[in-house]
Symmetry: D2
Subunit: 178 residues, 4 copies
């Protein structure tokens, strides 16, 4: 099952990423570049996916926070908020969305469900499929989560170009210890 | 760069996963199944990789902890500890390795460096390559981290078979909220 | 202000703790001792207060989890859940309360507001005052938070007696590193 | 034991806080006010103590980070680092101290042991006693931890005065949800 699983995951992830429009990628980059601060939230494994990206945003020189961590400040209308939820129905994520909407910050939703409550809150929806998967090879949100990790790391490569930065620039901002 | 990045990551990840021996996969499954508790640790993005896996282990019915979280108990000699570090030289990870070695727990190291200090502590080394990558497409540990996420999720599929469980069994143990 | 602040906090904390009924203390101990697992949740500084206690519960030999951490399993009807919120109106805490209530687990609410929505969900309310404070010496939830930290550490002393354990027993279960 | 415990903790905490010199309080305030960023670290319950303070620093308008959290950037020589360890011998805390020392950031150590390895790294030591305690009423680091929570919240009151801020200013910067 081991080899079948990763081949399944890799091949469906590629399909899923091929399905993301260039215009959505460009708009995401524009929103990130024009935001004062970029907040990220997700629950469970989607939260981990978001933290992966938040770390790279900091290394790219952006001001980024994961909502719920100790020192996260308040969101303002000049910020953007990236919310990650496979089903688009995770309650704590919707709670964040509703608060942030009222403040007037830009919301980017990453979800497999384009008609979910989360998608309705969003200014921009990045659709990442969690379909056509075999539940014994990629149970629950596995496909969505891995595809989103790769999507966001590919956005990092895009942001490096758009901000004229190299791997060395990221390394200099890489916090070490603990 | 966006599409180039994910194609680069997917293709090198596949190569890297193809390089993992069947015997290493089987031994990892055996160690996990025969451990009383499975502890996981990594620093930074490697820590997030480990947390991804810890969540699934719990959903598979194993007793698993991420070292450093609030309620993590002490490690005993009947436990195993999975340590994740790209370079195999992360100081806090080596600190954990040295303590755990003295206790007599089994150590599984996941690293791109088979001759690293971390690998020397390990009873079993899972080598995940971070080489041949283009730093502008997959900066720093990106390739290692994504390959390891996929590796561990493929181990989940393997563990589902070896313990006779379906996606439904995982869903029942899936904690929701917050 | 420094000395004025801690004298203010210490004196109001004592008052607040004197106001906790013996019967409430005893009932809390009984619920904890008879629970299969003890879950804890709070948001922001109230969450930190809960984590303080969760660590000691583990050192006392109880099975305890903080909701929202990586490896927290699902709550069952044989468990108890301690929810901490100054106002009793924190949305994520109420979200947890509503889910947990449906499952049938016992809810202990620690709050300064006995008529709050959180208190309504609870099987047992521990009232910890946040009143009579000077906002320039103990701003926002400061008094509630510190009083609750001390309350819960005093419950630890009570639990040590009721389970026949010494400091040495706690030390043996004290996880070190990282 | 419940009432005996909190009276013991309150009375020894007061003694311990009375023992902190005014000059140490003033110097701490000066370092915090003149730092570009304030980093905080501690392991276990000492880490929770630090997070309590980090939240308030953010609400006071300072730029503060807890080392080890997702988005924590690198420390520079214009920053200060507050390290909390009862024994002054916690390995991960010493690891942070050694890295930070090399960078040239100011180190404030909060510890019960003035001659500990941690104290040696520090530019300023805040001594918080963990002595004269009864291990059955205040086991392990309990007294140190609670005294330090109160000490740091009293510093908050001091910082409010020194920066001309009211409770209302903190409330405005208080992040809600999740």
């Amino acid at each position: 099952m081991f080899r079948g699983a990763y081949q399944h995951i890799l091949s469906l992830s590629e399909e899923s990423l091929n399905g993301v429009d260039d215009s959505v990628v460009n708009e995401t980059v524009d929103i990130i570049k024009s935001s004062n601060q970029i907040f990220i939230y997700g629950s469970g494994r989607s939260g981990l996916v978001g933290k992966f990206f938040a770390m790279r945003l900091v290394q790219l020189g952006f001001t980024s926070y994961f909502i719920g961590e100790t020192i996260t400040p308040i969101v303002t209308k000049d910020d953007s908020v990236i919310l990650i939820s496979n089903t688009g129905m995770t309650k704590s994520t919707l709670l964040v969305a509703s608060v942030v909407k009222r403040i007037g910050a830009k919301i980017i939703a990453i979800t497999s469900s384009e008609h979910s409550p989360l998608a309705k809150y969003a200014d921009l929806v990045i659709h990442v499929a969690n379909e056509h998967r075999d539940g014994s090879l990629a149970p629950l949100g596995t496909l969505f989560e891995i595809s989103t990790v790769i999507l966001l790391d590919s956005l990092v490569a895009e942001l490096m170009v758009k901000t004229g930065q190299s791997e060395e620039d990221l390394r200099r901002r890489h916090a070490i210890w603990v």
